[in-house]
């Protein structure tokens, strides 16, 4: 990998009473898709918010660094962060319904973003907005500039969000559950679009998702998170071919997709017992209480990430 676009090192995110992300390190290289995958409470969305400087009021970065374009984002003033957001870092969220302003036309919203960051005349920005709508494959882009958000379907709205996110030629695109609210057939189209932009414009993509299928199909590399900590970091193909961490193994085999022709009349799904716990209460491995192969040590000593091959790291003493 060349110099990474985004380099997160030893990140801790803290609330007054909890530390929902602990000791997280990963890099995203130019033109690659890195997926952070996890269930609720894994800290994946907080990580994305930390990169964008949008942590909730009571949360703070307690340790570590987030390096982007030669700067540590954790030390920037809100004003400087504002210039980076929507400029060098583009963002797409889960809800295309609420992310667009309902009382402004599509064109107006895109031109505002362009003029905020690049300046220029209204006409130039409008021309660029039409180009962007064409880029995200919205049919009849010039006419669509005057459309209102409610006139578009969910999939089309998400395309508009993507157009706004890449309006200022970002080097990093953060996509937080970008297709969770969309139907499966639309979901495939939107991800195909994001992947095309990655390829054609060389944008690095940080994909935050709970959906293992998306990761398997679209990511180059994967960070599997559980209760605030990275469990496994690996290439996507290597991870799905041979998951090493007991949590990754459990998650992949529990998926109905992994059952093939085996139906429910043939036997139960392999399941991970118990509930998602919280990281704060545990000294040892956060997965230990649910882990089928936990050693006595696991409850008291936190396993560090260790390399198992060139691009594969696992935080588990049992994994081979």
């Amino acid at each position: 990998m060349n110099a990474p676009v985004l380099d997160i090192e030893g990140l801790d995110i803290a609330f007054p009473m909890a530390r929902p992300v602990q000791n997280l390190s990963f890099q995203v290289g130019a033109g690659e898709t890195l997926a952070v995958v996890g269930e609720s409470g894994s800290g994946k969305s907080l990580t994305a918010l930390a990169v964008m400087g949008l942590l909730p009021p009571r949360a703070r970065i307690a340790a570590g660094s987030i390096r982007f374009g030669g700067r540590d984002l954790t030390g920037l003033k809100p004003r400087e962060m504002q210039d980076i957001r929507g400029g060098e870092i583009g963002m797409i969220f889960q809800e295309p319904m609420t992310s667009l302003n309902p009382v402004m036309t599509i064109g107006r919203q895109i031109t505002e973003v362009i003029r905020q960051h690049d300046g220029g005349t209204e006409e130039a920005a409008r021309g660029r907005a039409a180009e962007l709508l064409d880029l995200v494959r919205i049919p009849d882009p010039v006419a669509k500039l005057d459309a209102w958000p409610h006139e578009l379907s969910g999939g089309m709205r998400q395309r508009v969000m993507i157009a706004m996110a890449v309006a200022c030629r970002p080097s990093l695109l953060i996509a937080d559950e970008p297709t969770t609210a969309l139907d499966v057939t639309i979901q495939a189209q939107v991800l195909d679009l994001i992947d095309g932009l990655r390829r054609d414009l060389g944008i690095a993509v940080l994909l935050i998702t709970h959906d293992l299928g998306l990761v398997a199909q679209w990511a180059d590399r994967v960070v599997v998170m559980y209760a605030g900590r990275p469990m496994e970091i690996a290439g996507a193909e290597a991870l799905f071919a041979r998951p090493r961490h007991p949590y990754s193994q459990g998650l992949i085999s529990a998926s109905p997709r992994a059952q093939g022709d085996r139906g429910f009349r043939d036997g139960p799904l392999p399941e991970i017992p118990g509930n998602v716990g919280s990281a704060a209460s545990l000294v040892g491995c956060s997965f230990a209480p649910r882990c089928p192969v936990a050693l006595p040590d696991c409850a008291t000593r936190r396993p560090a990430l260790r390399q198992l091959g060139a691009a594969h790291a696992v935080a588990c003493p049992v994994a081979k």
């Binding site: 017992p273 118990g274 509930n275 209480p289 649910r290």
Partner: protein, 291 residues
């Protein structure tokens, strides 16, 4: 399942709200004022024995002039303190009875219109608008003028003009809650409408109703005072409003006659408003999360 063990033990929502309420200094101040008034009302016969309308000393004794009558006497030589103490009964009784009346009507109308919708809702809301169109107080004066000017009439009258606020509130809550899945679940379980209205939906609609009720008590006390001031309430009972009404003619020479009961009304109304605010903060789940 092992997942039982990982749930955090949380107190039921009710006791958490109570804890938040008791931690709010304004709400506690309101409770203290109300407790004082309540004490006076309950033990009025012990604190100030005898009829407060009898003449006991020379008229126009200023507060502090004679230690036997700490708040002085009025133009007819009646003890102001005794009047205040007995008057608290009227204010509280009318405030609470009026609120109970409007709770009964308002909740029933609001629940039924909000739950059923359709033509029932249209009829109910028309009724609400009819009651709300004339100014409340004017309507109250008419009601009291038509019936006897005694305390039950006054209380029911105030209730009868102030229920529309509650009806609108309860209707709004019911419309929001009736679409929730647990109500659909109740339908699919074959529960009757009455059971769904009173046992499934109503308990969920109560928090804002409780908050509004405390403010309604305050409003009712003010209305009763205003009626007494105009001499339209029960002439045989001392009330804070009637004391102000009688004292207003002496405002230049003996302003304390109007000021003392005025202060009582002010503090009691303030107390109910503080309690209402405190309840609102404590029962609002969004704010309760601040804990």
């Amino acid at each position: 399942m092992t997942d039982m063990t990982t749930t955090t033990a949380m107190a039921p929502a009710g006791s958490r709200a109570l804890r938040l309420f008791l931690r709010n200094p304004n709400a506690v101040a309101g409770m203290l004022i109300l407790a004082t008034v309540l004490f006076a009302a309950i033990f009025a016969d012990l604190l100030a024995p005898g009829d407060p309308l009898t003449m006991v000393a020379q008229p126009f004794l200023w507060p502090g002039q004679n230690p036997a009558y700490p708040l002085g006497t009025d133009m007819m030589g009646r003890d102001v303190l005794a009047g205040i103490i007995h008057g608290s009964r009227v204010s509280l009784a009318v405030g609470l009875a009026a609120t109970a009346t409007s709770l009964l009507i308002g909740t029933l109308v609001g629940a039924i219109t909000g739950y059923y919708g359709g033509w029932i809702d249209r009829v109910g809301m028309n009724l609400v608008e009819i009651v709300q169109t004339p100014p409340n107080f004017l309507l109250l004066v008419v009601i009291v003028a038509i019936w006897q000017p005694n305390l039950p009439t006054v209380a029911i009258g105030i209730g009868a003009v102030s229920w529309p606020t509650l009806a609108r509130l309860v209707r709004g809550e019911f419309r929001a809650i009736r679409g929730k899945e647990f109500v659909t679940a109740a339908h699919s379980l074959g529960f009757s409408d009455a059971r769904i209205i009173f046992r499934e939906v109503l308990p969920n609609a109560l928090p804002p109703v409780v908050v509004t009720s405390s403010v309604l008590v305050a409003t009712a006390i003010l209305m009763e005072s205003a009626l007494s001031f105009l001499g339209l309430s029960d002439p045989n009972r001392v009330s804070w409003g009637s004391m102000i009404g009688e004292g207003r003619e002496m405002l230049r020479t003996a302003w304390y006659l109007a000021a003392v009961p005025g202060l009582c009304i002010f503090s009691t109304v303030l107390a109910f408003n503080l309690i209402g605010d405190g309840l609102n903060d404590a029962m609002n789940p969004r704010l309760a999360g601040r804990e």
